[in-house]
Assembly symmetry: C2
Homo-oligomer: 189 residues x 2
DNA sequence: CGCGCGATTGAGTAATTTCAAATCTAGTGG
DNA sequence: CCACTAGATTTGAAATTACTCAATCGCGCG
């Protein structure tokens, strides 16, 4: 019984104990240690994950072995390879733990079951998805319009917590700049 | 009574005539000519729009007057300033018509009404939003990992129709490269 | 103390941008 | 049918920016 998940859902819809219990029963706990993988390239992706505690990164590695960060996920965020999950294709990403992690997982079948049984939960996920969409659009705009320096400043303002928890190298891979450039930038602030 | 909208919705959920009629009644038609604006910077955004016919662009203009394309929308796509729409803030984007356009608009109140009255439609929009999320994640990955040349090739493969309907200058603004660079690139293909 | 990882710094290089000018194209009116 | 114009595209040259590669630094930990 996850207080965190309930609180998270109740930011958008209200649930009574029974409703929550049914939802909760479709989730499974999972713990991973720092450096362990949650999803690996070329695997099928059966679950999406709610982060109860800890921090993860979803990455894509190009043919030259260079790594790019698709998304971070910390407490109360959702993570998976959504492309692979929704379209039933193999993952092209790796998701691994930057800290010890506690997760709640839900399979596609269970997710669809929850949503079809509960209009409220369908609503919850619609709202979550639309917020996510807006956030990604902001990131695209940031990638299109701003210099590495501005991008780093925006990141600093938007996710100050992450600055503390993540290496600069990894932040550079999220912002789409080299670690050397980021280093030269941080000097000038 | 829009056949296009019904077909579009029925790609995801099935509706009987009565159900569709209720939904349809919450939409309003709107026509605009090429070059007209649908949404202008600093306005409140009350609607999202379904494109029945035509082509639009959503743009952001930076302090130097440089224009970037946030999204295109053609037949069967949805467009708005979603950030402004969902969060009730003023638009930071302009949306204008690249061709004469026929739209169906729905206000936030009506959208929420449709979704709360009809679990099916709530489902429809959840699925739409999740597909949209995945598509944006792909675009972010493309911006992070690929060179202008590769990006243009991807675009060509993904949206061959748009190549015919949109100027190179505008495609460059979508891909995040200068029109000169894009021009030099197209030569080499 | 020494190892290892992340961060920093420097120098040279590659890619893209910018600015300017030239060219091409489609549509308009004579 | 042709000339003209506005807009889009192309081309050139210089300047800028970020990247790569290599070396060094700094710190925490065994």
């Amino acid at each position: 019984m996850s207080v965190e998940l309930r609180k998270h859902i109740e930011e958008i819809v209200t649930l009574n104990d029974q409703e929550f219990e049914i939802i909760n029963s479709h989730f499974k706990s999972k713990s991973l240690k720092k450096h362990q993988y949650l999803i690996q390239e070329d695997e099928a992706v059966k679950n999406i994950y709610f982060v109860v505690k800890g921090l993860l990164k979803a990455t894509y590695t190009d043919i030259n072995g260079k790594e790019y960060i698709i998304q971070f996920a910390m407490e109360n965020w959702w993570i998976s390879d959504f492309q692979a999950f929704y379209n039933n294709v193999k993952s092209i990403t790796n998701i691994s733990c930057l800290e010890n992690v506690e997760l709640l997982s839900v399979t596609k079948e269970n997710l669809e079951h929850i949503c079809s049984e509960s209009h409220k939960m369908e609503h919850f996920f619609r709202v979550k998805n639309s917020s996510g969409y807006v956030a990604l659009q902001q990131r695209i705009l940031s990638l299109l319009t701003t210099s590495p320096k501005e991008r780093f400043e925006q990141f600093t303002n938007q996710y100050p917590q992450l600055l503390q928890r993540v290496s600069k190298t990894i932040i550079a891979a999220y912002l789409g700049i080299s670690r050397e450039t980021l280093s030269r930038l941080s000097g000038k602030l």
